[in-house]
Symmetry: C2
Subunit: 321 residues, 2 copies
């Protein structure tokens, strides 16, 4: 949400000299992506995004992300397309950071998705999952069970400082998930962070999916569970079953889910809620109290976790029993 | 340098419905302007800047700024052009803030201006001064002598906490400026903040001047003195007489300066240096120590002030004696 690294006109011109995309006409630092610095760069040939990777993205993972976007773009997934320079390279060093240029995607993200937008994103997520088949690089999900346990450990007694009893709730939930987490469901490349901020809409259609920097190999249905959390709750934290039904039906019309996948949804949704509860609680305690960027409250995901814990039947997600 | 206010896709669409500029295609929060929130908005008809005015811009001043930009744009000054809605209105209320749409200007600002860029900006400043004649609204400069005295008072003992002896230096400089500040030089509309960040270049030409939110009525030569400070020192704080000569000659080729104006340059340059020394010292003490946006060091303008204090002849600014 900030420009951490300042790129000068001269540095931009030097970089672009290696590409066949024309000379720079404009460059604006944009408030997109929490982790990286992004510029909207206009050249004589159009609009591009210049990303400089700041500390939180591991350099070793960049070839996976770039390779994935190349692969998905070739299959017409509406994602940022890595721009190759004349030597075929995507990754460069700029201002001491790894940097890459991408195509600019039109569209605007929404804050309160409609049922129609939930329908649209369901189909798009399923297409993404199908398009990812055959991509032959791998990246483990470092924010799955083992990662959650590390986060819980790191939180320590801070958990109870947030809410009395939160530590115990986290421990018992982790024990439950460890005992019941499925390991035999279809896996593949997942986005793992497909929140409304990361989906662009134009005239009701999904025009872009962005910010693939949590993408990894994991259970496809876990990605669905993340979206159930991110798209199907209202601002008052109530679950909107109409949106869930629309999202799931639309997803399944593109990629049918197995019975095992649908049955696992409540536990996957609990895991997804716990994942964001933990990272938000972590950020809550690791952000200086008067820093400019306020962390998001973990409270939202505690409420979502409690909702999923109480689910007794798939019909509560809008699925036929 | 940040997006303080988040505008949703729905709020943008509602706003644009009142204009004849097509439907929104894209919206990105941009890191431009320290005081306000700015979005780069693309519609079916092109690019625009949407500005939301945050607390530091007084609402009562907005009609002056909008009126000035309308007036300057009509005379082909490369400034943001206020976009009028179907009812002829520029100012709207959006997210509880005053907001306005402007044309988008191509070009990229430079960090270390070349002699050629100093030449270009000299001519452009003179054209701006000529174009402002006849604009019939007025805004006093609240950052002239009286404003500096208020800032000095507010700093109090903090001054000496910055550097031993700074308080005394500020007091004696203020006394000197109060005694010698000219009041009979040509006045008019000045930009008052034409730093390199506020000038866009394209192919060596000035393609845009932006951020008119310090514009006011004051001595035209004071605006020149601000630019001498902002454009003609190197990063090591040394004065570059070649840049100063180029800037001043270029300015005077468009708007000749009277003998009284050139003679007043050293004192005007001292005043300009003191103005930025004071505002930076103020921001230095009023920004929380671990806030995200770091204030700029006042040190740079202390050094500039000392340079101007030592000037004995106009030849030191590159002017013929």
């Amino acid at each position: 949400m900030a420009v951490y690294t300042e790129v000068t006109a001269e540095e931009l011109a030097d970089l672009l000299a290696g590409y066949d995309i024309g000379r720079p006409v404009s460059m604006k630092g944009i408030a997109e992506g929490v982790e990286n610095t992004n510029y909207l760069v206009t050249t004589e040939q159009g609009d591009f995004i210049l990303t400089l990777y700041e500390k939180r993205v591991a350099c070793g993972d960049l070839p996976f992300f770039i390779g994935l976007l190349d692969y998905l773009a070739a299959q017409s997934v509406p994602c940022p397309v890595p721009i190759h320079d004349r030597a075929g390279q995507v990754l460069h060093t700029l201002c001491d950071r790894s940097a890459a240029l991408f195509s600019f995607l039109p569209g605007i993200s929404v804050r309160r998705p409609s049922v129609a937008q939930c329908t649209a994103v369901g189909a798009e997520l399923a297409k993404l999952h199908l398009a990812g088949r055959g991509f032959d690089m791998r990246r483990e999900n470092d924010l799955s069970l083992a990662g959650w346990e590390r986060l819980r450990e790191d939180l320590g007694d801070h958990a109870d400082a947030l809410w009395e009893g939160l530590g115990e709730l986290l421990d018992s939930e982790l024990a439950f998930l460890r005992a019941h987490w499925p390991d035999d469901l279809p896996d593949g490349v997942i986005h793992a962070d497909l929140f409304p901020d990361n989906v662009l809409f134009l005239d009701g259609d999904v025009s872009g999916m962005i910010d693939f920097y949590f993408a990894c190999n994991d259970l496809l249905a876990y990605d669905i569970a993340i979206c159930l959390n991110a798209w199907c709750f209202e601002v008052d934290h109530s679950f909107n079953i109409t949106k869930a039904r629309a999202f799931l039906e639309s997803y399944r019309s593109v990629r049918p889910m197995s019975a095992a996948e649908t049955e696992a949804l409540p536990i996957l949704a609990r895991g997804a809620a716990l994942r964001f509860l933990l990272t938000r609680a972590y950020d809550w305690f690791h952000t200086a109290p008067d820093a400019y960027v306020r962390p998001k409250s973990p409270d939202e995901y505690l409420r979502k976790l409690r909702f999923h814990q109480r689910v007794k039947s798939l019909s509560e997600y809008g699925l036929a029993p």
